[in-house]
Amino acid sequence: MEQNPIPAAQAINRLIEELSKLPGIGPKSAQRLAFHLLRAPEEQSKLLAEAILSLKQKITLCSICFNVTESDPCPICRSDQRDRSQICIVEQPQDILALEHTGIYRGLYHVLHGAISPTEGVGSEDIRIRELLRRLEDGSVKEVILATNPNLEGEQTAMYLSRLISPLGIKVTRLARGLPFGTELEYADDITLTRAIEGRQEF
């Protein structure tokens, strides 16, 4: 990585260095992007720079559900169209985007910002579980939908939350776990198949 920066190209080197900090972008890709921007109209660079800046300046976390938002509380938490008796628990803000895309869920959300992972040292205190329990205190929530990822960490987090929430007299449900659409049965693993058989429905 020790390259001798040519004095005249210092601005380019600086951009390359910054770009290569982004995920999935190595030094070569960064170089390509930097030279592309150099040749592109100035307008494009301005728009890009503004978009990046406004991201940091305008986006905060909703103080209720911890989704990313421009206004606090977020539009979903503020909306009177949403069913306030349901909360759907997800690991990441991106998960909300995926769920909202379906348009089928009308309740509220809660973003944990992670999943319990003991071997990585992520415990219950490191994700937003305490805030969730506080939201459940007033008794207006009737159902909690556990939508953490169907992998080991997500399952563990779901089991843990269910242990905490069930005693409060709130219905706890888990997203169905089975076969993804568009795949083939012969490649499915044992756990997925077992749960798909257990969770089969009348057709």
Binding site: Q156, M159, T183
Partner: protein
Amino acid sequence: MSKPRTYQTEAIIIKKTKLGEADRILTLFTPHLGKIQAKARGVRRPKSKLAGHLELLTHSLVSLARGRNLDVIIGSQTINSFLALKNDLWLTSCALYITELVNQFTADNVENYPLFQLLLETLEQLSQMGNKELALRYFELHLLDQVGYRPQLRQCVSCQQPLEPVVNCFCPSTGGMLCPNCSPGQPPSYPLSVNAQKVLRLLQNSDFSMVSRLKIDAQLSKELERVMGGYLKYLLEREVKSAAWLDTLKEQIKLNTT
């Protein structure tokens, strides 16, 4: 002399790290290649055919292709997915704890077949064990055997005399017991009741069937956990991360059931 480009091995997946957009680096513990790292491409996409066969705590038959840095996983077929473990919060946490220990106590590419057998057996038996705590202690003691840290529990490590049936001390830095005559002036150590010493010796020299026959009370269980935890921490020179999670669970589950 050229090695074949692809090879196949049994493996237990003991650790996973995200890589790039949809890849993972997995740590596999294998019977004859020891601990190896391998890249699994695309396993974080929902339609990945491999993902379910490469989840943590899964015993699989894995095919790998040699890569420049890391070998790449090209196929995987589950042998045992340990569903009974994964459906239970406490058992999953115990299993993660023992895989973390294996990861911490082993170096890459060093064959340790007995340790593989021990890990596999423990994962298989854990869900049927009456006393999970004892199963964990059994695993810890036998793990130490396999990695060269077997504690000396029969005689005093200082004067070499057989231990009397009295309270003796376990001293992590010498890796064994100290009799009351030798323990003053030695580094910090754990005083162990006669019963605790008996249970440790028994676990060290028996197989798994003994674990289910043993009955111990909560206090003794705590004593054993404390001394083993202290010894492991001394050897690793750091905390075992998932042990802290086991403690949290123990506290909170008790709170919730009462």
